[in-house]
């Protein structure tokens, strides 16, 4: 049977859908009996969903600079 360390090492590939069905089965079996690994996999999944939100939103000044560049480019194209 897999150890918890092995489950943690393979959890990324499990969540990314990149494991062979035999490996998936081994992990699923481990997860049935190990609540710590179930928690790890559940929370890792949540973390991966959260990563796109980890950057702060741009400031007004940053947005203004970008939009001014766009407006200026449009004028020179016209």
């Amino acid at each position: 049977m897999l150890s918890c360390r092995e489950v943690v090492n393979d959890a990324d590939q499990l969540l990314d859908g990149e494991l062979h069905w035999r490996q998936r089965l081994s992990i699923r079996f481990h997860l049935l009996i190990c609540h710590n690994c179930r928690r790890y996999v559940r929370q890792l999944r949540m973390l991966i969903f959260a990563i796109p939100y980890m950057h702060q939103r741009a400031s007004d000044e940053e947005v203004s600079i970008i939009m001014a560049g766009i407006v200026s480019s449009e004028k020179s194209d016209a």
Binding site: S3, C4, R5, E6, V8, N9, D12, Q13, D16, E18, N36, C37, R39, Y40, Q43, L44, M46, L47, I48, F49, A50, I51, P52, Y53, M54, H55, Q56, R57, A58, E62, V63, I65, I66, M67, G69, I70, V71, S73
Partner: protein
């Protein structure tokens, strides 16, 4: 983004485009910084926004907008490198920090948890990384993270680029890319886990 907003965006609504800039600009700067360096990242992303504005009418709704923007920004970064006749900055790709697992000390010798993860009390994924103090810790962690790990995290998890595309773009093996992504994610996991348990970094 709903269909109505997307249509307005594709028809050149500058107010909505400015919101797009507000939501994604810093992620794009983070995405290209490992490729062109901090001093040129802003200029590259500024050019990427110009290209995106001109091409937004052709945006296909089956793609994620962040992924679409990310591809434009990476192409722009690579063009910048070609124009300046420079190589990718990743001289250390594939061999940096592959042997240290951030969660190694959490396991007993038999490979089972000695110090298992704490139970996170979070309503939704988008609020998980939002705490003000956590945001500061996260910023510090990302700044200190090895360049290659940070890039994998930005490209795969933040921008949603397909794994194979990243390996091709950066000429690294799938196995090395996997290890780098695993290291980056587990560092982040460790940070959030500690924060959830103690309220501190």
């Amino acid at each position: 983004m709903n269909k109505d907003k997307l249509e307005r965006l594709k028809n050149g609504d500058q107010g909505l485009f400015a919101e797009l800039v507000r939501d994604h600009h810093r992620a794009l700067v983070a995405l290209v910084t490992p490729i062109v360096g901090t001093s040129e990242a802003e200029e590259v992303v500024q050019n990427a926004w110009l290209k995106a504005y001109k091409a937004i009418a052709g945006f296909e709704e089956r793609a994620q907008i962040r992924t679409w923007l990310g591809r434009i920004a990476i192409n722009e970064a690579k063009m910048q490198l070609r124009q300046r006749k420079r190589e990718l900055l990743f001289s250390d790709w594939g061999n940096q920090d592959l042997n240290s697992d951030p969660l190694a000390t959490r396991f007993a010798e038999d490979g089972h948890w000695q110090n298992p993860p704490t139970d996170w009390h979070v309503d939704s994924p988008d609020s998980l990384l939002m705490g003000e103090q956590l945001a500061d810790c996260l910023e510090r962690l990302l700044t200190e993270m090895p360049t290659n790990q940070r890039s994998m995290l930005e490209m795969r998890d933040s921008s949603g680029l397909p794994f194979e595309d990243i390996c091709n773009e950066l000429s690294i093996s799938a196995s090395n890319a996997r290890v780098l992504l695993h290291r980056a994610r587990t560092q982040l996991f460790k940070l959030v886990d500690h924060y959830q348990e103690t309220g501190e970094c």
